[in-house]
């Protein structure tokens, strides 16, 4: 064992009660760091999961029609291109072949999307129809899990709608309702299921139909309007979207692009967390620095003797830096362990509905980061005391 290590260890164990208090102080700051990190990461994971579990991670659509700008000598003329054609993916089977062999893609759902109105008596409500293959009704949003009445079965040709929309029109399972599509087609459909996802955009406006029923309503006998993709890791959506765009030339949109406000909110939370983490680290640095400075003054005579016997300034400084590192490492380990146990305990507390009261992620406490930062911070905190110790004048110190 290096001798400086032995001397440092002897110093911090010589006054074990004081060292224990100091280590506990560091550990407490580390617990705060871990708790805040686990909470903010947990909240971010919770919000992201809540969102990504109900939407497509990547959407493939026909490219937007761009107005071509024609320039003549005197003026600009903007002329839309190909606006006479329907926006649709005709060769969607080939696109599915490409998408399903793309690493990270877990589910693909071809969708005929269109707008229309649900009419019951004199009441009319707008509805966004998703025509999907009955076997893939749960591929993008696990609608079956949110059914509150009826079922999500689409093979019978019925309509599955959101609970708010059903309430507004007074619809129950089995009630027939007239669907008027944006293309002018009409069809009387029975309500076969009512769901409540918890997202207003779905519960108030969306209805699911079999793609077979949707095709004539939206006049798309062959093509589809959208391919919805689920990924193993939603975080990889932007990269996979770029990959698929390059492979298909379709417009590929990652879920993050459509949910910028969520990303902004989680980033803002992260920044708030960074402030609290920085204060926790500052508390660690100040407590270690002040304790070691006191130790420097208390041990002035001993440092003086070391210097008198020819022990170098560097050795003395190393001893004090190592004391900081020891205290930091012990406090970091203890705090990280206590923080993890606290987070596990808090995550296990559930409300009456069985869901966790706090969206805390015990495994996301930033343990490696906090241990590294605490040890580095502790070493930094020891620099000032180490400099003070190495500058002790042996003559003055011995005469004290």
């Amino acid at each position: 064992m290096p001798f400086s290590l032995l001397v440092s260890w002897r110093y911090i164990t010589a006054n074990s009660f004081q060292t224990l208090l100091l280590v506990l102080g560091v550990a407490l700051s580390v617990v705060v760091f871990v708790f805040i990190t686990a909470l903010i990461n947990g909240l971010s994971i919770f919000l992201t999961q809540e969102t990504t579990s109900k939407i497509a991670h990547v959407e493939l659509e026909p490219p937007n029609r761009i107005a071509r700008v024609l320039i003549d000598d005197s003026r600009f003329v903007a002329q839309p291109v190909s606006t006479l054609q329907r926006k649709q993916i005709r060769n969607w089977q080939q696109v599915i072949d490409i998408a399903q062999f793309t690493p990270g893609v877990s589910a693909i759902s071809p969708i005929v999307e269109g707008n229309g109105f649900l009419v019951r008596g004199e009441a009319t409500r707008p509805v966004a129809i998703q025509g999907v293959e009955p076997s893939k009704v749960d591929a993008i949003t696990n609608i079956s899990a949110y059914i509150i009445s009826g079922s999500a079965e689409l093979t019978t040709g019925g309509l599955v709608i959101g609970a708010d929309l059903a309430t507004e029109l007074g619809l129950l399972v089995g009630t027939p309702v007239l669907l008027k599509s944006e293309r002018g087609a009409e069809r009387l459909l029975p309500i076969t299921g009512i769901f409540r996802v918890g997202l207003a955009s779905l519960d108030q406006r969306v209805g699911f139909l079999s793609i077979r029923v949707a095709r004539p309503l939206f006049e798309l006998p062959d093509g589809i309007t959208l391919l919805g993709l689920k990924l193993d890791d939603p975080a990889k959506a932007p990269a996979i979207a770029t990959l698929l765009h390059n492979a298909t030339q379709l417009k590929a949109t990652a879920w993050q692009e459509k949910n910028k406000s969520l990303q902004n909110a989680t980033e803002a939370q992260g920044r708030t967390g960074n402030f609290i983490q920085a204060f926790a680290l500052l508390a660690i640095i100040i407590s270690i620095s002040s304790a070691l400075l006191l130790s420097t003054y208390r041990r002035r005579a001993e440092i003086g003797i070391m210097r008198a016997t020819g022990v170098s300034r560097q050795f003395v400084a190393t001893v004090f830096i190592l004391q900081g590192v020891f205290i930091g490492a012990l406090g970091a380990m203890l705090g990280a362990t206590a923080g993890y146990l606290l987070c596990v305990q808090l995550a296990s507390i559930t409300g009456p509905d069985g869901d966790a009261m706090l969206p805390i992620a015990p495994n996301e406490g930033g343990y490696a980061l906090v241990i590294t930062l605490t040890i580095l911070g502790a070493a930094l905190a020891a620099v000032l005391p180490a400099r003070a110790a190495s500058a002790v004048d042996p003559v003055e110190a011995i005469q004290q």
Binding site: S4, M306, T309, S312, I398
Partner: protein
């Protein structure tokens, strides 16, 4: 005839306190021959401790030259002076000044272990041998704080010898000990001087201690008094 170990030429040391400058050493010329045991005597305030600090390379003189083994130490850096102290000098202080949280063996080995970076087995052996020599081998694992005053001073002597120094500077080594223990300590120093040819410069008020030395250097008002 003995070779010169340490040579001090016209050493002057003054201290400034605000506007006032006090000259403590007023031109000291001193030749310390190898293998001698010298006593340094003088009244309080005569400059005895300041001279000992300068000869021990703990303090720089205001003017004058210091040579150890024919090497001038005047322009050496602090780091080099530390190395010189460590390799060529040993110190024994009045209040022993051991490190209380370390064992007797660790205290003895400290000045050698710190520069080496490790407390090696060989170093332990050497420290134990020195403790044996001062009659404390059975106390090697005692913390310094658990030893009596005389034992502490004997550990301090062993510590001063760990790097086989050319010169041991002792500042009132018996000043804090009872008469019997003081006598034992002086006998020990004398024995080391004779068997190892280690040079000693002992600052003391005690005439009994001084009488055991080969020569007495008297300092009066910052100057060496003529013998």
């Amino acid at each position: 005839m003995s070779h010169t170990l340490l040579l001090a030429k016209d050493i002057i040391k003054s201290f400034r306190n605000g506007e006032q400058e006090t000259c403590v050493l007023k031109g000291i010329d001193l030749n310390i021959p190898q293998g001698k045991m010298l006593a340094l005597q003088g009244a309080s305030g005569s400059g005895k401790s300041t001279l000992l600090n300068i000869l021990g390379l703990l303090m720089r003189p205001t003017a004058g030259e210091l040579m150890l083994l024919d090497q001038s130490l005047t322009n050496l850096s602090d780091g080099s002076l530390s190395k010189y102290r460590n390799q060529h000098l040993g110190f024994v202080f009045q209040y022993h000044n051991l490190l209380p949280d370390f064992t007797a063996l660790e205290n003895v080995a400290f000045p050698a272990a710190a520069p080496q970076g490790r407390l090696t087995g060989e170093l332990r052996k050497r420290a134990l041998h020195l403790l044996d020599r001062v009659g404390l081998s059975d106390r090697s694992h005692f913390l310094a704080s658990q030893l009596s005053g005389g034992q502490k001073q004997r550990v301090a002597i062993a510590r001063a010898l760990i790097n086989k120094p050319d010169l041991v500077l002792a500042d009132e080594p018996t000043g804090n000990l009872d008469q019997d223990t003081a006598k034992q300590v002086m006998n020990l120093l004398r024995e080391i001087n004779r068997t190892d040819n280690t040079t000693f410069l002992i600052s003391t008020h005690d005439n009994n201690v001084a009488s055991k030395c080969d020569e007495i250097i008297r300092i009066t008002d910052g100057k060496i008094a003529p013998t």
